[in-house]
């Protein structure tokens, strides 16, 4: 192995060592020095590559001017779907809430509660997020809703949940924050309540999916549910 080959090996794979390279380095101070420099730089490269990535899409959306166009989104069954009708039906259901959930609903509720543990800090947000941030999350999830009807959104993230990206929102209400998750493709039998893991919540079915509203403790989730259903009305 000559110096040229040794430097190519070192520059290509700084941490790798072979008997040939070892033998060359033992007799070549120049290449040994080059390896020491390269390893020092490698430490820096490793550190530099640990970019601070945003925890939630909303942070990036509110601070970064996109330099490139976003990917085209798939069409969603939640667009242009006659939400007015769905909302009116669901509002009626929501008022006369049914007790005793289905097995699917219970499983969904359990997963929602489990999902909450990964987003625990979302409850601490108090500042309304920019419209652009909410729009980005909704776009990523393929969901449209009327922000004004929804209320003050203080947190929004497109969450990977059950194989889909869904909007995870925290909305401020007079009785404290509630989490709203719009769940395209999920099936829920009418409206189901749950009380699990310190959260009380309600799941409401709709054509094409479901909506979940969760509160901590005894928070009122019915009024926020009504708001969500209205907000989903085109």
């Amino acid at each position: 192995m000559n110096c040229e080959e040794a430097r190519l090996r070192i520059g290509g794979e700084p941490t790798a060592m072979s008997p040939e390279l070892e033998q060359h380095l033992a007799g070549c101070a120049d290449c040994s020095g080059y390896r020491a420099e390269t390893l020092r730089i490698e430490t820096g490269i490793l550190r530099a590559m640990q970019l601070p990535v945003p925890a939630a899409s909303t942070e990036a959306a509110s601070r970064v001017v996109p330099l490139q166009p976003a990917l085209p989104r798939r069409s969603s069954p939640w667009r242009n779907r006659g939400w007015a009708l769905a909302a009116s039906v669901l509002m009626a259901i929501a008022i006369g809430v049914m007790f005793g959930g289905s097995r699917d609903g219970e499983a969904l509720a359990t997963e929602l509660v489990s999902h909450m543990s990964g987003e625990a800090t979302s409850w601490d947000e108090t500042r309304q997020i920019p419209q652009s941030a909410l729009d980005l999350v909704l776009k990523r999830s393929g969901v449209q809703l009327d922000r004004a009807a929804l209320g003050e959104v203080v947190y929004a993230h497109a969450c990977f949940f059950r194989g889909r990206y869904v909007p995870h929102l925290v909305v401020r209400t007079a009785r404290g924050p509630v989490t709203v998750m719009v769940l395209p493709g999920e099936t829920v039998q009418d409206t189901e309540r749950f009380d699990e893991g310190g959260y009380s919540g309600v799941l409401a079915s709709a054509p094409g999916g479901a909506v979940a509203v969760l509160g901590r403790g005894e928070t009122d989730v019915d009024e926020p549910l009504r708001r969500v259903l209205t907000a989903l009305t085109p």
Binding site: R47, P66, L67, Q68, L71, C159, G163
Partner: protein, 178 residues
């Protein structure tokens, strides 16, 4: 034997793992795309793709490299499809992008910028090796190059970064040219 409960459990576990790996995937995509919004799009598409293909994954230990490969391909697909303009790194700096947050020391920031400025043919194998943990053989297979060509590109990538440390670059003989 297909046990629906077991399948659901395994789906739930995969979903949790995917969520846990998201920052790593996003970081990887960010180095490739050099733009947060694009990187998020790439990761979103990659995760959806991975979810749909989850039955193809035989070895759970290979999940991360498998996902990183999907992210890389998704990024490449995006470039092929959209023929996106090259990101202006100076604009990235001017926008005070979190990717270049000044929380680190000045040299790390300079190095980060220098890596962002590397041509894609050098940056991509470097990111795959350093961040993705891919071997030169794996990178060669993934990029459709010879192992020698990958080694040369990695050498050149690091050679350019020597400047940040005030070190001279080392030229290669013509036989190592790509």
């Amino acid at each position: 034997m297909n046990d629906p409960d077991s399948a659901k459990r395994s789906d739930r576990e995969l979903e949790q793992t995917l969520r846990a790996l998201r920052p790593d995937l996003l970081r990887f995509a960010l180095w490739l795309a050099r733009d947060v919004a694009t990187a998020e799009d790439v990761v979103q598409e990659a995760m959806l793709r991975a979810w749909k293909s989850r039955t193809e994954l035989a070895d759970a230990a290979a999940l991360k490299p498998w996902l990183l490969t999907i992210v890389r391909r998704e990024h490449a697909r995006l470039y092929e499809r959209k023929r996106l303009e090259l990101t202006d790194v100076d604009s990235l700096v001017a926008s005070d992008d979190p990717a270049l947050a000044a929380s680190d020391d000045e040299q790390t920031r300079e190095l980060r910028l220098a890596i962002f400025r590397l041509p894609e043919e050098y940056r991509e194998p470097l990111v795959m090796q350093v961040l993705g943990g891919f071997s030169t053989q794996e990178i060669a297979t993934e990029l459709g190059l010879s192992q020698g060509a990958v080694l040369t590109r990695l050498f050149r990538a690091r050679d350019r970064l020597r400047e940040v440390y005030g070190l001279p670059q080392r030229a290669l003989e013509a036989k190592h040219e790509l």
